[in-house]
């Protein structure tokens, strides 16, 4: 692997090369040695390949960060250990189902937000599946007899369906259904982003709103296209389809570089409970003894900090992450106020850094010049 990597410019270029090769190979299989490439979708094909390149490059550079590398390593290590295999796999599946399929945690931030995000997410993923399936020729339809259609996936004939049946209608309108989901989701999200004062605090137009506008343009032009050929007898169809193609290609090219990039990195969340929460917190704070974390997580955090030259070791050899957050806050204040060490003379007033005596420490609080120096 190392040798192979060295023959490429970088890790990112190696994986990009593989991804594109695999994509073209699957296309070669799916389209029967390029026998039925849909030339109408050629623009989408180019857009999808740029999309794949962008995603690969971003994913590789993201996974090279020390923190990400550490959690990835920990996840694979945990999946491989024999002793807790069943428990770990169950944890991953349960989290994936709750967090990615149902997106429960967003519903807890608000039902409105949850609905908007769920519709957006699954609308987009569904549209991606259909678009990529068709542009790379992974699936196509073939007519067996005048009444029956068959879906061919990767050159393997699969489901047969009546050409005007309910299932067939659902399949033909797949993109329309997902587009409607996205349209509703985008509208809900845009309404929230423009009216909610909470959302406005940190939102940025180019980061939070632009992807919504891009999605709106894609779904809008796509649905108008359907409108045109279904109800308007193909009114301006060539122009509209070109417009739709332009918006989709822009979307695909933008996807890996903006907010929408959270889609491919989100699945990492499925590993978190397995790594850090499946066992109850067991690690006691070094100072107060309160249980605040697990050993694995503290080892990981220390490793990540060390890899980035954060020197958070104290004089006694312990690290700041050995203490619970409350003790860490307290340590900072004690240091600041010179209260860390027990006083030499327990009856003498405490010497703080500033000369102001905290009340309760014996000396009278107001003693002339001490109090007026802020005036």
């Amino acid at each position: 692997m190392q040798q192979l990597e060295r023959s490429f410019y970088s890790k990112a270029s190696m994986y990009s090369f593989f991804v594109v090769t695999i994509l073209i190979f699957t296309m070669w299989i799916g389209t029967g040695q390029f026998a039925h490439v849909d030339m109408m979708l050629f623009g989408y094909l180019i857009g999808s390949i740029v999309f794949a390149l962008g995603i690969t490059g971003r994913m590789v550079s993201w996974s090279l960060r020390p923190a990400t590398q550490q959690i990835l390593k920990r996840s694979f290590q945990n999946l491989r250990t024999r002793s807790h295999k069943q428990r770990n796999i169950r944890a991953v599946l349960k989290t994936a189902f709750d967090n990615i399929i149902l997106q429960k945690f967003i519903f807890k931030r608000g039902v409105y937000r949850g609905m908007a995000h769920w519709l957006l997410a699954w609308g987009c993923i569904g549209s991606f599946a259909i678009t990529f399936g068709l542009t790379f020729g992974w699936m196509h339809f073939s007519l067996i007899d005048p009444e029956t259609y068959q879906i061919v996936v990767m050159g393997v004939p699969t489901i047969k369906m009546a050409a005007d049946g309910l299932f067939a209608e659902l399949v033909y309108n797949g993109l329309n259904i997902t587009a409607m989901m996205v349209l509703i989701g985008v509208t809900m999200a845009l309404i929230r982003r423009t009216t909610s004062p909470d959302a406005k605090v940190t939102q940025r137009v180019e980061f939070d709103l632009l992807p919504l506008y891009v999605l709106l343009a894609v779904t809008g032009t796509g649905l108008v296209l359907t409108l045109s050929y279904k109800f308007l007898g193909g009114f301006m169809h060539p122009q509209l389809s070109l417009l739709h193609q332009v918006t989709v290609v822009l979307f695909l090219v933008y996807f890996p570089f903006g907010k929408l990039f959270h889609l491919p990195i989100r699945p990492l969340a499925a590993g978190v409970p397995m790594n850090y929460r499946e066992t109850v917190d067991t690690r006691p704070c070094r100072s107060c003894g309160e249980i605040y974390s697990t050993d694995e997580q503290i080892i990981d955090v220390k490793g990540i900090l060390a890899a980035q030259q954060f020197d958070l070791q104290l004089a006694d050899g312990s690290y700041l992450s050995d203490y619970c957050p409350a003790c860490r806050r307290k340590m900072r204040v004690m240091k600041q106020m010179n209260l860390e060490q027990p006083p030499k003379d327990p009856y003498a007033p405490v010497e703080t850094m500033s000369g102001i005596q905290p009340p309760g420490f014996g000396r009278r609080r107001t003693s002339g010049e001490k109090e007026d120096y802020h005036e």
Binding site: W62, R65, P66, A67, T68, Q70, I71, L72, N99, F105, K108, R109, D198, A199, V201, T202, K259, H262, I265, R266, L268, A269, V272, N275, Y276, S293, Q297, V301, I304, L305, Q308, F310, L312, L320, S321, C324, P325, A326, C327, R328, R329, K330, V333, M334, Q336, M337, N338, L339, T352, M353, S354, G355, I356, P358, P359, G360, F361, K370, Y373, H374
Partner: protein, 180 residues
Amino acid sequence: MNKIMYLEFERCIGCRACLAACRECGDHEGTERNYVDYVDFMESRQTFPMMCMHCKDPACARVCPANAIQITEEGVVLSASEEKCIGCRNCTFGCPFGIPKFDFDQNKMYKCDMCYDRSKHDIAPMCASVCPSDAIRFIDYDEMQTLRRRRTQLNLVEGRKPSEQDKWQYVPEFFGVYTD
């Protein structure tokens, strides 16, 4: 943003108005993001307010596997962006000052953002605007420098002379974001 947050722990009277004010801030959704704790409850009733230092190179952002903690152009370290945070809690253990909080229900981290919608317009953050004893202040950079200088002078009057090794111990805690 030209102003900075100036904290004097000794001035805290433990009224917790800053916590109440923090809950009212935009985007905080009724949760406070700062702390008021006892220094040493067995010894005295002295409390201290605590909020994020907004480090230039934040450890919390460095230990985040999802790269979710972003820093604004003014230098404010924001809460983990909700779309990226995977809920691993690394930031709460990586932070040397124990600042980030974690919401297990919503599966996200949240921390002091210096009331970004206020402070980016040079308006005092909620906590600083309500503190009755001036333990938390939002002041000009120059004013902060004057206060630090006075405090150093006071230490000299008391006969404690800072040396090259520990001179920084003679100035009060200050943090915040400023452009020089």
